[in-house]
């Protein structure tokens, strides 16, 4: 196979996953959230139970006027949604679905993923500052504090599993994974998942966009397609965090018939975790800013550090 065809197929596959998976998760959120609240959710768009609701939403967003506030820093304002979306695209590139099913296998996959995920804070600050709106700015500052804070437990928890596996490559970590890691690495998995939730600013960690006090935080001034990009970034974020948790802590493609059905196991675990993320959103109220920081610095970081010590001790003992 010529190099360019190989490259084209890989990029196309990543783009398809990048566009389809968030839609599936978004639709699942519509329906799951509705049924958890005793409603039925969208029923009309598309024939069967409103399956095309998000596509219809997309068409609606495209039709809307694209407004840039007069006092906004135009270039930065317009770039911010793309900066928010782009890191997740890069991350999806490195996530392995099956034993040999990965768009780009990297030896330092985990390092790249964590580094790239950190770009999110830049997008938040860009949109917050460039909007020339005090609510946006407040939301952006909150977002920055939250994202910088939760970066630490996220990295520490990921470091624990990398230490256990002895590699930074994502497929390598899945290869090294053993079922008993579910117990041994459970605290790290929990910390990683919760910190990941905060990284994608999902409820109950949606303090930066607290709509009852900050209108919509750093997204307040965005309209039309740019707002849709932010929303898409949120749903891609769900997929990415669920996928990373799957790959790092839940054994990725490991399961019965993993030779043939490995990718199915990975997808299944990703969707199960996405369901949990949606479930959290329905069940829990938003954390207050001080509770948010307290949870990060007084609970997650110490737990992650203790896990690191435990991992090191077990590795040394084995």
């Amino acid at each position: 196979m010529p190099l360019w065809l190989d490259l084209l197929i890989r990029v196309a596959a990543v783009m398809v996953g990048f566009l389809v998976l968030p839609l599936v998760v978004g639709q699942a959120e519509h329906k799951v959230m509705a049924h958890m609240q005793g409603r039925v959710g969208p029923m009309y768009a598309g024939a069967f139970h409103g399956w095309a609701q998000l596509i219809a939403d997309g068409v609606k967003f495209v039709q809307k006027e694209d407004i840039t506030p007069r006092d906004a820093d135009r270039t930065v304002f317009r770039l911010a949604p793309i900066v928010a979306l782009f890191p997740y695209l890069v991350v999806i590139l490195t996530i392995p679905l099956g034993p040999n099913l990965v768009a780009q296998s990297l030896d330092i996959g985990l390092f790249l993923v964590l580094a790239v995920l950190g770009i999110g804070v830049v997008a938040v600050l860009m949109s917050a500052w460039a909007s020339a709106n005090k609510y946006s700015l407040l939301g952006g500052v909150r977002g920055a504090a939250q994202l910088l804070g939760y970066e630490l437990p996220l990295v520490l928890a990921a470091a624990s599993v990398a230490m256990a596996a002895g590699t930074l490559s994502l497929p390598g970590i899945v290869e090294a994974w053993q079922p008993w890691w579910l117990l041994w690495q459970a605290p790290a998995a929990l910390v990683f998942f919760i910190a990941g939730l905060a990284e994608i600013r999902r409820p109950p960690f949606d303090m930066p966009i607290a709509d009852s006090e900050l209108v919509f935080g750093y997204m307040t001034e965005y309209t039309g397609l740019r707002f849709a990009f932010f929303l898409l970034a949120e749903y891609v974020g769900i997929v990415v965090i669920a996928a990373l948790t799957t790959v790092l802590f839940l054994g990725g493609w490991h399961g019965p018939f993993e030779e043939q059905l490995g990718w199915l196991w990975t997808l299944l675990k990703i969707f199960a975790l996405s369901f949990v993320i949606i479930w959290f959103r329905v069940s829990y109220p938003r954390l207050r800013e001080d509770q948010l920081q307290r949870l990060c610095w007084l609970i997650l970081v110490p737990v992650a550090l203790a896990q690191l010590v435990l991992t090191a001790a077990v590795k040394a003992a084995l």
Binding site: M36, V40, M43, W279
Partner: protein
Amino acid sequence: MSENGDRIAPGKGLLDGLAVTFKTMTRRSTTQQYPDVEPDLPPRSRGVIALLEENCTVCMLCARECPDWCIYIDSHKEEVVVPGAARARQRNVLDKFDIDFSLCMYCGICIEVCPFDALHWTPEFEYAETDVLSLLHDKDRLGEWMRTVPPPPAHDVLGEPSKEEATAARKAAGPGAATAAKTARPASVRATPSRPAQEVEPAPEPEQ
């Protein structure tokens, strides 16, 4: 919980919250598919107001009592010559009877005060318009709503009889008969009392 000093396991509240939402998800949703399925409205629902034109005597009570002044009435008088009568009678003829539903607040005072049952509630509520002027319903349109007026609810069999019934029964019994209105009630109704049995029972002893 914590105010009472009860210690609960940490995180129990979080798990309870998850359990509640999951349980709700497994149950059937309570959504009513309104535009597809007609809602099942109680008989006394207040929708639009219907006019039975034949009953209207243009007494103007409704228009005067309306707090919003949203009822507009015009009429003229006509002579009715009854053969054999000493002189011709006069009768009010309704020319215009409009209710402006953009002003109406559905208090129902017009329906209450109407002495001749010319105004009725109907449960029809789907008369929204894209133009606010179209919410002014004239007497023909108000008359069309009469089709949707449900029959009046049956009298409560255990309730007091109407004044007419009581008077008729008293007259039938002749002078000096018992005046208690309850004697006018048909025997078949009184044969199955539900309350008196309780009244016979001795009052329960107060506890303590």
